[in-house]
Symmetry: C2
DNA sequence: AGGTACGGTGGGAGCGCTCCCAGCTGTGAT
DNA sequence: ATCACAGCTGGGAGCGCTCCCACCGTACCT
């Protein structure tokens, strides 16, 4: 008689209590059956299950969340100023992995895009307002206050990617250094003598790692890392273009490029074309990420593939561990590094 | 003393009751202030607001949801077998639009990927289990039972794209017919005499519309729609390749292609290259979607841009209307069609 | 026979809100 | 002075669960 409420579905839906009445047992017993507690006799369990089936009972998760003081949900937080990253398949893959791994749980996935500081504040409120059991953070910057905030309120969290070499928060990352190294080794192995690199913004740890991998491979080949062969950009296509111009200017003799992202490689490719340099004949190229861009370039771009979807899955697994083991903060924080793989195409 | 609970944050957080005590008012009054009810005197409001600030009170949304019988959340449902679509920026853009529009509300965004029929069932359970106030459905197939299920349980829902010309459920779609038509008109306007098209799967309404647009433009130019100039594919790159081969086989004299998606255009482009046909000199091309693929093609692909992000925003607006007006089912269901825009690049 | 143990069970006491009704106050009409 | 009627306000009664404690009966011990 309360008038039509905002939420049409659900009213009139059977409750735990009704199931109990129908099965001729107490509320507690039904709850135990629903939650799979072993301390229920088979006979009782069967009776309850039948009542559940007959009534078409579905537990009210909101009530459960309130009573049990948990949310049955985790948040995936995406800082959206990173539009460039967002457009990449990277996020799709992460989301797919997260979704897949979560499907086996009965946790919900909450998606939170953060555009402004105001929204970040709002997020903080949400998080402390009992809405989620844990948080997945994608592509946080080194100076992002969120991880520490979460730490403070004891909210389980997992990062995709480290903020620095000494990351304290649990994370899942891919082997950027190793991937970059194998890319450059490949280039050198193909007989290239003057391998340049276009790096990401060096205040990002991921960019540092990829540069580190480049340097390691160069040194392993008994060569020196020459400043003239290193140009840093910002992971954008335009950045790739201008870095390539600088490189060509400084070292017109270069015969290979390792770009720390496919998109930058695409930009570089354009500049090479403008300068009449053929790929791979004059200049061999390798990118990083193995995104759609790589496959669609002409010629298709050799690239370092990260197991992005697997990263999503791993993040969830780690998060679940964290949620489970909340009590013993003593145990060391799980940190996972996933291998990468060089996908060879015609550009090298 | 209840032992460490699963959820670390939140315990010990101030409640409505404590705020009321501090402000020296009743629970009801605090609730009214929090929810912006006008029936509170300014003095009282100020006192409450101060108490809220002092205590750092944040409402427990779970409790609110239980008491008010709503969820303060909407679900974005994505059928994930559509991996191909998922990788496209399409979803990113929809999500961004949805997120942006939702940010002004205090509704949460729940992301649900559906892989299997089992998961679809699970979703149905969720939906009826009071977890969301409404549902956004992306790229549903004509035979998907979900929209009707939602209709039945009176759950507000909005589709992105129609299932057929006579869609009954509220939807937001882009003007596929008009977009295709303008693309083909453009081709014809550039002096092309033999314009072919690569369509999507014709059991999808969106593919039908784009073909319809093609036909309309051809007829408007006083020509006939020749079967030999129409090849249907499945929106994939490989599909684009084989369709292009068939086309070339049937009508080696063609001098323009309208592909119903950029990805198929990319596939077609490869085949053209293999056959030594230059773009745009021998064959002009236009795609649909204006995705990253289009920009990265060589030459960059002219394409029909859809306002995808705006679609996401519009979907939310429509959904909110639906949620609001749940009572009067008599009012007609909102249906929105967004315009498209031809983005000209070097391929035409 | 009396005691102990324990698997199994019922139901009270909340979780933190919203809703709503009764009551309280002050104002203006009578 | 009395009454009516607003505008505000307090707090009881839930929302549908989980948690936990008391209790039951039976089986097994001494």
């Amino acid at each position: 008689m309360a008038g039509t409420r905002r939420h049409g579905a659900g009213r009139g839906r059977p409750t735990l209590e009704e199931v109990a009445a129908r099965a001729g047992v107490g509320r507690g017993t039904v709850s135990r059956v629903i939650n799979g507690s072993p301390r229920v006799s088979d006979r009782t369990r069967t009776a309850v299950e039948q009542a559940v089936a007959e009534l078409g009972y579905v537990p009210n998760r909101v009530a459960r969340a309130l009573a049990a003081n948990r949310a049955d949900a985790v948040a995936l937080v995406i800082p959206e100023p990173e539009t460039r990253l967002f457009a990449e398949p990277y996020f799709s893959d992460i989301i797919r992995g997260v979704g897949a791994e979560l499907a086996d749980t009965d946790l919900q996935l909450l998606l939170t895009l953060i555009r402004t500081p105001k929204e970040r504040q709002r997020l903080a409120d949400y998080l402390s307002a009992h809405r989620v059991d844990g948080v997945l953070l994608v592509s946080v910057h080194a100076d992002d206050p969120l991880p520490d905030l979460l730490e403070r309120i004891e909210m389980p969290a997992v990062l995709s990617g480290r903020r620095s070499a000494h990351e304290t928060v649990p994370y899942v990352d891919s082997d950027n250094t190793g991937g970059a190294q194998s890319a450059v080794e490949h280039l050198i192995g193909r007989g290239r003598s003057t391998v340049a690199t276009i790096t990401g913004p060096l205040d990002m740890y991921v960019a540092q790692c990829r540069l580190e991998g480049y340097s390691a491979a160069v040194r392993a080949a008994g060569r020196e890392v020459e400043p003239g062969l290193v140009a840093s950009a910002d992971f954008t296509e335009e950045g790739g273009r201008s870095a390539m111009r600088r490189l060509l200017d400084q070292r017109p003799d270069l015969d290979a490029i390792f770009a720390a992202s496919d998109v930058m490689a695409a930009g570089a490719r354009q500049v090479l074309r403008e300068h009449g340099r053929g790929v791979p004949d004059d200049v061999a190229m390798v990118g990083f990420e193995d995104s759609a861009v790589a496959r669609h370039m002409d010629p298709p771009l050799t690239s370092v593939r990260q197991a992005t979807e697997e990263m999503g899955r791993a993040m969830v697994r780690v998060l679940l561990e964290e949620i489970e083991g909340l009590s013993d903060r003593t145990s060391k924080r799980p940190q996972v590094v996933l291998p990468t793989q060089l996908v060879r195409r015609e550009s090298s």
